[in-house]
Symmetry: C2
Subunit: 219 residues, 2 copies
């Protein structure tokens, strides 16, 4: 019912924070239930074992990220008809979103899980794999659409560029943490944005491209 879903959500929230801080293996159910204010029986009422918790965490993370990407891509398209401008706006929005997080990005569950893959069954791994493929597909589609209007530089495979954006995000999160500077991620996304400009603007990108839109509030 209502209350059950709330408790379940609270468990997931607490567990996700713990997984991102200590890893899945070191995340103790006892700590989670202590923080959630429930008993062990209550936990196992919602999740039959730890692996189902992992599955639920992954599903939740993927869905939320899908929503975020839906949103920034939709707003990017709303604000320009030009596919290049549209994508550049989307990247700017994403960068703002990351920069506005008070304590930096909390971490990418996909990244943690791929570094602990032996802990999860094929089901969970497939969810993660499909999600990554889907997100890369979005970026690749956006780039391909741009390429129909602007000629891309030779020697650059757009599939690789699309994947590189995922690399920059996941790598940026790691670097932000490792260097103790939450703004690294935002800067990396903006740097990638500059590269996209460079890729599709042959001669002098700063001249033929209008300035990026400013003061667009990120959700």
């Amino acid at each position: 019912m209502r209350k059950g879903a709330e408790t379940r959500e609270r468990i997931l929230e607490i567990a996700e924070a713990s997984v991102l801080a200590k890893g899945f293996g070191a995340t103790s159910i006892e700590e989670v239930i202590a923080e959630a204010g429930i008993t062990k029986s209550g936990f196992f009422y919602h999740f039959k074992d730890k692996n189902e918790l992992a599955r639920a965490l992954m599903l939740r993370y993927v869905e939320e990220n899908d929503r975020i990407f839906d949103d920034v891509f939709r707003r990017g398209r709303q604000l320009s008809d030009d596919p290049l401008q549209s994508f550049l706006i989307t990247l700017k929005l994403l960068a703002e979103l990351m920069g506005d997080l008070p304590n930096g990005h909390p971490g990418c569950l996909i990244a943690t899980f791929t570094y602990q893959e032996r802990l999860f069954d094929r089901n969970v791994r497939d969810i993660a794999s499909d999600a990554v493929r889907s997100w890369n597909g979005r970026f690749r589609d956006a780039l391909n659409e741009i390429a129909t209007v602007y000629p891309a530089r030779k020697g650059m495979d757009l599939d690789d560029v699309a994947i590189m954006f995922s690399c920059v995000i996941d790598g940026g999160i790691i670097m932000s943490r490792g260097l103790g500077d939450p703004r690294v991620l935002e800067r990396q996304i903006l740097a990638f944005r500059s590269i996209v400009q460079l890729l599709f603007a042959p001669a002098a990108p700063d001249i033929i491209l209008p300035p990026a839109p400013t003061a667009i509030a990120a959700e």
Copy 2:
């Protein structure tokens, strides 16, 4: 003496593989000693607790990576006097190195540790942090040296480009695993290489730059 160092090394080897596959928290000492063919007492003779194992793993990883970077940068400089060419060669060598790994890159310990930072003391975190800063510094120095000869594109901070390379490597490892395709990492490094070309070659990079050296055996 001699034999002690060998056993210690074997422990580290096994532990590293386990940490990269399951995470540090889920790496059980019992499994490690079983695989190493020693007893628990033997393990605690070499490492007084699990945290010291973490410290040793991190130190070992950082030193080995330092050696690798020393090597590819040295060989890059040997093969060309031009800083741009030299760096492009280094990147190619690095890409070949990654591509030649039979089962893909085993994983970046820094990445795992930053996603499990609550498990380690400040000492270990500082080692990781300093290593990342040092590696980023290498890339930044290389880029700055290039910029003294070739004018860089405006709007791109070379510090960010340097950090982006670290992002591409760590992100590339995650993507390789997540997508189940070991060659993603190699392709990402080569894609970054193309971007460096683009960054420093204003008009037509494929023309003014000689082809990358081929058939340079990676160690």
